[in-house]
Symmetry: D3
Subunit: 332 residues, 6 copies
C-alpha cells in the first residue's frame, strides 16, 4: 500500500462516512447505505436533483445542485446541510448578479461544480448560450452569487477548475462538445491569468478502446481535481455505447501536478457503474455521474457525490490512498 497523502487539504472530521461493508471488494469505493441521499422531489418544483456540487462551509456543508423542475427546465440551486447527508435546498434557482452589464444571458444551467480558490467559492456549470458552454461565477457566502464571463466558447460541457493556480494561472478542465448530445468527448486543459481570457489548451485524455470499454464512447471530468503527493486525483465519468443505449460509469486518473495534461495513471476498471435500481432506472437509465467530492485532509477519506439515473443523488465513500493505489495497479 502506498502512502498517498492529500496536499493542501484541511481536515474535515465531519465528512459523511460509513465503513466499507464486508464482502467482495473489487473497487476502492463503496456506496453509502442510505442511498439515494437526495430524493427527486426535495424542493417545491423539482422533478429530479442529481448532479450536485458540495463543499465544506462554515460548521457544515454547502452546495449547488442541479434541479430540473417539472417543466424539465434545467437550473442550479443553492443548498445547505449540517451533515452532508440531509440537505435543505432552495426552492428557487440561484439568481446570479452579473459582474458586468453586458454579460450574455443564460438560457439554462446544469451540472455545477464548486471549487474554493483563494478567497471564494467558484461555481462552474454548463451554461446555455446558443448551445452548451462553460458558465462561471462565484460566491463568498452561498447567499449572493456573481456571474462572470463564460469561460470558453460553445460547445462545451463538464468544466472543472483546479483548486489552486498552476503556473500562476487559473486552470480548467473541460470537454469540447457539439450542439446536441455529443457522440464523442475528450478532456482538455486550459489556463487563464484572470478567469476572463483562456488559452494554452492542452489535450489530456481521450476515450479508451475495448480494453476499457466503460469509457470507450466519451469521457468528462467530474469533481475538481484533488491534490495529492502522487499527482492530481481526478474522478471522471466515461460512457459505453451498448447495443441498446449508453451506460455512464466513473473511474479516476492521476495527472501530473505541474503539467496536468500529462496522465500518470488512469483506471482501466470503473470505480462505480450503474448497478442499483436507482442508478439503472429513472429519467436517464444507467447513469452514475460524479460532480463533487469531499476530502478529509487528516484521514484521506473521500465522499463522492454522484447523480443516479439523472434523477436522484447518491454518495460513494473511499480513501485516497486506496483509490490511488487502485489506479496505479489497474492503469490503462
Amino acid at each position: 500500500m502506498s502512502n498517498t497523502i492529500l496536499k493542501n487539504i484541511p481536515s474535515l472530521p465531519n465528512i459523511p462516512w460509513e465503513d466499507r461493508p464486508a464482502g467482495k471488494q473489487n473497487s476502492p469505493l463503496w456506496r453509502y447505505s442510505g442511498n439515494p441521499i437526495i430524493p427527486r422531489d426535495l424542493t417545491r418544483d423539482s422533478n429530479s436533483i442529481f448532479n450536485s456540487a458540495v463543499v465544506p462551509f462554515e460548521e457544515g456543508f454547502a452546495g449547488v445542485f442541479r434541479c430540473d423542475d417539472t417543466s424539465r427546465r434545467m437550473n442550479i440551486h443553492a443548498g445547505k446541510s449540517t451533515d452532508g447527508i440531509n440537505w435543505i435546498i432552495d426552492d428557487d434557482p440561484i439568481d446570479f448578479i452579473k459582474t458586468a452589464p453586458e454579460l450574455p444571458d443564460s438560457e439554462y444551467k446544469y451540472d455545477p461544480r464548486v471549487v474554493f480558490i483563494e478567497d471564494r467559492y467558484y461555481i462552474i456549470w454548463c451554461n446555455g448560450y446558443f448551445g452548451p458552454c462553460i458558465g462561471l461565477g462565484y460566491t463568498f457566502d452561498f447567499k449572493k452569487f456573481y456571474q462572470m464571463e463564460n469561460a470558453l466558447m460553445p460547445y462545451n460541457r463538464n468544466g472543472v477548475l483546479f483548486p489552486r493556480k498552476i503556473h500562476g494561472n487559473y486552470a480548467l478542465l473541460s470537454r469540447p462538445s457539439d450542439s446536441g448530445h455529443t457522440p464523442f468527448g475528450d478532456i482538455v486543459y486550459s489556463e487563464s491569468p484572470d478567469m476572463i481570457y483562456w488559452g494554452k489548451h492542452r489535450h489530456v485524455m481521450q476515450p479508451a478502446g475495448t480494453e476499457s470499454a466503460w469509457q470507450s464512447k466519451k469521457i468528462g471530468a467530474g469533481p475538481a481535481p484533488i491534490e495529492t503527493t502522487e499527482g492530481w486525483l481526478l474522478f471522471y465519468h466515461g460512457v459505453l455505447n451498448s447495443c441498446n443505449g449508453f451506460v455512464y460509469s466513473f473511474g479516476a486518473a492521476l495527472l501530473d501536478l505541474d503539467k496536468p495534461w500529462q496522465v500518470i495513471a488512469r483506471s482501466r476498471p470503473y470505480l462505480i457503474s450503474p448497478q442499483e435500481i436507482y442508478e439503472c432506472a429513472g429519467d436517464v437509465p444507467n447513469v452514475t455521474f460524479p460532480c463533487a467530492v469531499l476530502t478529509d485532509g487528516d484521514t484521506g477519506r473521500l465522499a463522492v457525490y454522484y447523480g443516479c439515473a439523472d434523477t436522484v443523488t447518491g454518495l460513494a465513500l473511499g480513501k485516497v490512498d486506496e483509490v490511488v493505489d487502485f489506479i496505479r495497479k489497474n492503469s490503462l
Copy 2:
C-alpha cells in the same frame, strides 16, 4: 381558484375515485394507489395492455384496449367493467364490419380512442395501411363494430375526435408522422362534414423549447378534448429526447371552444411523468401515455387512463377546476 365547470357532460357518480394523498403537491393529478390497474397478461395472448380508451356505458364502463399479443402484433380489443378498475377484456381483437366493401384492409391497429358523438361511440386508432394512418369506426353496443374510411392519409397517428360537431362539422386532432418512429410531431386540427372527407386543416401546437423540455421533441393529443366553460381541456403527451432515450410525459392545454386551433393556455410543467417503476421499466422504458379520461359532470372529477411503459395501464385522478387553474397559472 376558478370555477371551471364541465359542459355537456353528464353526471358519473361511479367514476373511479380516490382522494388526493397527503404530501407534496406540484401536480393537480395523482396516481391511483392500485396502479397498475390492468396487468400485462390479462387476456389469453396478451403481452401488454396499455393504451386504453374507456367510456361510461350502461351501468358501468366499456372500452377499447390496445393489446399487443405475444407475437407482438398490435390490435385493439373490447372490454367491460362495472367499476372502471377491474376489467374483462375480450381475448380476441375486435372484428370490424366494413361499412363499404372496398374499404382497405388494416395491417395492424393500435392506440385507440373512443368518443361518444350524438348517437354512437366512435373508435379512432392508428391503422396500418402502407404505414400508420387514422382508422375510424363506430359501435352502438360494444358488440358490433363498424369500420369506416380512414380519416386521413398515411402517415398519421394520435387521432382524436371532439365529442361534438364544431361549425357543423366533425372535428379531429391528429399528429402527422413519418413511416417510422417519427422524430417530430405537431398537433393539427381538421374538419369533416361526413367523416369521409376531411379538410380545413389548422395547426394547433408544436413542441416546446428548453423552457418546457418534457414536450420538446414531439407532442400528440391524448383523450378526446373535454368541453368546459373555459375552453376545450386537452390532455396530451410530450416527449423529451434525453442523452439516453426518450421520456414520454403528459400535460394539458386549453383550446378555444369555437376555434380549437387557438391555444388559450398550455401547461409548462408536466402533469404526470414516468417515476414509478412500472412506468420506468417495461417494454418501452419511461412512458406515461394518456388515451382516455372519464369525467363526472357533477363534481368535475377526472379519471385519466394512461399506458405505463407500453406494458400496463395506470390511472390518475384529479378535478377539472384544479387542472384548468394549474394550466392557466403555469402556462407556456
Copy 3:
C-alpha cells in the same frame, strides 16, 4: 404497335415539336435539341427555374414556374409563351387572392402543376404550412390567382389533380412525406366532392426493388394524368439511392380509368435519366423531374417539361402510343 388514342384532349397543332433524332432508341422519349429551354437566370432575381407547369392558353401557352431567387427562396411565378419554347416569366411571384380570410399563410411555394378542369386552371403546389403540404388555387386568366384551402395535411408533396372528376369527385394524387427531405415515398389517390374536404385515400404505387432500381428509393407523380383509351397515362419520377447521392429519373404508368389506384402497367426502365451535363451538374446534381406535359389530341404528340438539376428546364418529346406501348412491353 397499339392504337392508343388520347381521350378528351383537344388538338394542339402548335405543340413544341422536333422529330426523333436518328440513332439508338431505347426510350420512347427524346430530348429537344435546344435544351435547356429556360435558363436559370431568366427573371430579375432568379437563381433557377426548373419545375414548370405549362398548359395551352389562348393562342399560345401559359404556365406556372418554380423560380428560386438568389436568396434561395422558393416561389411560383406565372409566365407566357407563344411557342412553348421561349418564355416570358413574371419577375414577381404570383400574388394569390385568398378565397377566405382565414386561410393560412404560405411560408413558401414550389413544384407547381397546372390542370384545367371544367372552367378554370387549377394550380397545385408544395405549400409551406408548418412543413410541406399540398397548396391549391385556381385562375381563369393567368392574371388573377385565387388560393383555396390546402388540399391535405402536412407533410405532403407532389400533388397532382386529374383533369376531370372521377365518381363525381375531384381526384388527386399525392406523395405523403415527412418534415425533411423524406427518405421514402409512395403515391396515394384521394377524392373530394368540393376541393375542400378530401378522403377515400387509396394507395397506388410504392418504390420498386432491384429490378427497377431507378425508382427504388421513392416515387412521386409528375404532370397531371393524361386520359387515353388504355387508361390514365401518368409520368412520375423515381429516385435511386446510389453509393454517393440520389439520382432522379422518370418513367410512366398506366392507371385504371375508373379506379386509378389500380396500376395496369408501369415502366420498368426509366424514360429519361440525368445524362446531359445540365442534368448532372447544377444546384442539385442528377435530377430530371417532370411537372407538365402538353398533348396534341390529333397526333398524340407529347411534350414533357422537366426540371434539370433543379436549375434549368428541359423538354422531352414523344408520342402517346409509343409511350403506352413501351410501358406495356416493359412493365414491372
Copy 4:
C-alpha cells in the same frame, strides 16, 4: 399433442428442473423460481455474467461463460457445477492454446456456445479480429482449451455448430453482421469438411414483419440445434425496435434434418421476452438471450440458459414435445 422425441440425446436425469407453476400458460417455457441463477459479481473481477454455454460433463455440468470484467472487457471463462444451478466459474479467462502458431490473436471474446461433436467439446464465440467474427476452439476436459482458425470472416456473430455432421460436413449457423451494433440480421447455414474451410452457405431465416414484431429487426441463432424426430429444434433470439430502444426476446424454429436451411416451422409468438425486473433493467435493458440448452433424452426436459439484461444469467424450463407443438401450432 405430438410425440416429438429427442434423437441422439443421452439421458440427463440430473437436469435442473422445476415443474411448471400454476396459472396462465401461453408459452411452453417457464422461468426457474430462483432466477437469476448466476449473479453479476460471481467471479473476482466480473461486472456481469450472462451469455452462458452449458453442457453435461462428467457427473455434473461444465460451461463457458461470458464474463465482462469491471473494465468492461469481454472474455469467456470456464466453469463447473454439480447441479447446473450453482456454479463455480474461473476468475481468469480461458487461456487458449493455439493449434497453429500463425493463428491471429483475439481482441476480445464473447457470447460463447459449446457443442459436443464426436469426441470433444467445441467452443464457438464472437471473436474480435478487426471486428466481430466467429471464433472456434475445443476442449476435451474443460481444462485445456485449443483455439482453431476463425470459422468465417468478419463481420459475423452468433455462430453455433450443429451437434453432428451433415452430408459428411461440419455444419454451422451464423449471423452476418457489420462492424458496429448491426441494425440487421439473418441466419445463414454453412458447411465445412474440416472446420478450417467453410462454404455452401445457405440462407435460413430473415427477420419477420409486423405479424411477429418481436423478431422484426434482427435474429440470431441461440444454443446448438437439438435433434428431434420432427427436425432440428433451434432456439433463437429476435429483436424489436421499439420507439425507445431494442427488446431482445427469444423463440424457436424447426429446421429440416437433412437440409437445415429449410424452415419447417417458426414460432410467431416469442417464448420468453423481458418481463422480470432482472431482464428489463441492467447493463443492457430488455434482453433475454439464450446461449445454451440442456436436454434430457429420456423425458424431453429442456433447461434453457439465457442472459438477462446482459448482466446476469437466467434459466427457463420446458419439454421438447410441448415446445415443438407450440411452434407448429403458432408458426409464421
Copy 5:
C-alpha cells in the same frame, strides 16, 4: 447609392481588376473572366489549390494557400505574385518555427486566412489538434513563419482576425464545430489581450431560415472583415442542405464597428453561388468559399479570392459601396 468609404485601407492601384461585364446584374460581384486563376496542379504534388489567403506585399502580392497533395493531405503553402492573378506557390508546405517549445504539433492545416495587424502578417488556419481548431502564426516576410498557441479549443473552424484591435484587444471570429463534418454552424466573436488567452465570446450570427436558404444549414466567416464608414464588411459562406447534397455560396454582412457582434445588415441573397462548371464539379461539388479579399482604399475596388469545388481558386470583383448598398437593401 451610398457613399461607403473604406477606412484605414491603403491604396492598391495594382489590384486585379476587370470591369463588370454587360448583362443581368443581380449581384454586386462578378467573376473574373480568366477563372479559375489557380489550377489544381500548380505545385509539384498538389491535388488541388483552393482556399487561398492573399494580401498586398511589397510591390506585388503574397499569400498562403491550401494545397491538398495527392495523398489528400491538407497543408498550407506560401506563394507570391506580381499581379495577383499568376502565382508561384512553394512546392513544400510552410515549415513553422514554434514560438515556444511546448506548443502542440499540428496534424494537418487547412483554410488559411492572412491579416496584417500593426507590424506583421498573421496567419490563421484550421489546425488539426485532436480535431479541428484555430491555428495561429505570423510572418514578417513570407519566408519565416512562426507558430503561436492555438487560439481556441477544438472543435473550431473558419477563424479570422480583425485587422485592428478592438477595445484594446485582438478580435477574432470563429465557427464552433464538432469533430466531424459538422451539421451546424454559427459565427462567434472573441477577444484577447495577447493572442494567447481568449475570452468575452459573443454570438454574432446563426443560419437563416427558408427566407435565405442558401445560408440555412451553417455559416462561417470568410476573409478578414473590412473596415468601412458603415461598419465592418464581412464576406461569409453559407450552406444549403439540398435534397441531394450541400451547396456552399457566399454573401456579406455589416457588423457594428465597436460591437462587432451586433449585425447591422446581412445579405438575404447570396453574392456568388456555384454556377460555373469549375464550381459545380470537382473534389467537392457545389462549393464557392471565400478566404481573402484585396481592397483598394482609393477606389473601393474589391477582389475576392474563393475556392471553387474545393479544387481550384476563383476570383470575383466588385466595389465596396455597391456591396454595402446591396446588403443594406437586401438585408435579412
Copy 6:
C-alpha cells in the same frame, strides 16, 4: 529506378498503349487520350458500362462487363475486342450454367473481375444473395459460363482471385461489407483447397488516416494481383468522405509473395483520382474504380481499365517498374 520484372506473365505485344504525355508527372499512370473508351450506351439496353474485367484472349481480348440497363438492373455481360479499345459487348447478360442444381439464384450481379488460373478463366463478381456476396464462376471460351458456389457469405464485395495457387490453395481477396452502402471497408485474404470451402482468413489492409485521406473511409481490391519480382502488385480503390459526398480514387500496394496478407508497401498518394469531367459527373459523381489490368510480360506495360463515375469505362497506362518504384518511394 528498380528493375521490377513481371513474373509468370506472357508477352502481350498488342496491349493497348500510348506513351506518357509531356508535362507534370506526379503519378506513374496516365490517362488514355481517347477516354472514355466504352460509352454508356454501347449495348441495346445499357444505361452505363463501367466496371470492366478484361483479359487477353485468343488473338485479341475478351472481357466481362458490368452493364446496368435502363431499369438500373445490375448485370454482367461478355464482350470481345481485337485491340482492347473498341469493344463489342453482348446485348444480353451472361446466362450462367449452374454447376450444381441446388446453387442459389442470383438476385443481381455487378463489378466483375476475370482471372485466368491453370486452365480456365474465373469470373468473380458481387452477387445478390440476401445481400451482396462473392459470386464465382468460370468459362473456357467466353461463350459458355458456369456458376459455382458463392465464395463467401454475405455481406461481401470486391472479391478478386490471385492468378495462381498459394500454399496449394486458391487465394482470394475480399472486402467484408454490410447490407447497404457500407461506411467501412478493409481488405481480407482467404484460401480454399477447392473453391468451395474457404478459410484461413487474414486481415490485409484497413483504411488510412489523414496522412492518406483519399483512402481513409474504405478500401477494396481492384484487379487481380500481378505477380512481380518484388511482390504482388495490387491496384485498389479508396474512398474519401468529403464534406459533400464520397470520392473514389485508386492506388496500389505490394503484398508479400508468400504471405499476401503482409503489406510490403502501399501508395500514400493516389495514382488516379476523379479529375476529368467524365469521372466527376455521371450516375455516381467522383468515381474512378479499377477492375482489370492488362500486362505485357515483355515490356512491363500495364493497361488499367477503370469505371468512371459509374457510367463509362476509362483506360490508364503505365509501366510496372515505375509503379512499383512509386509505391516504394511513397509508401504509407
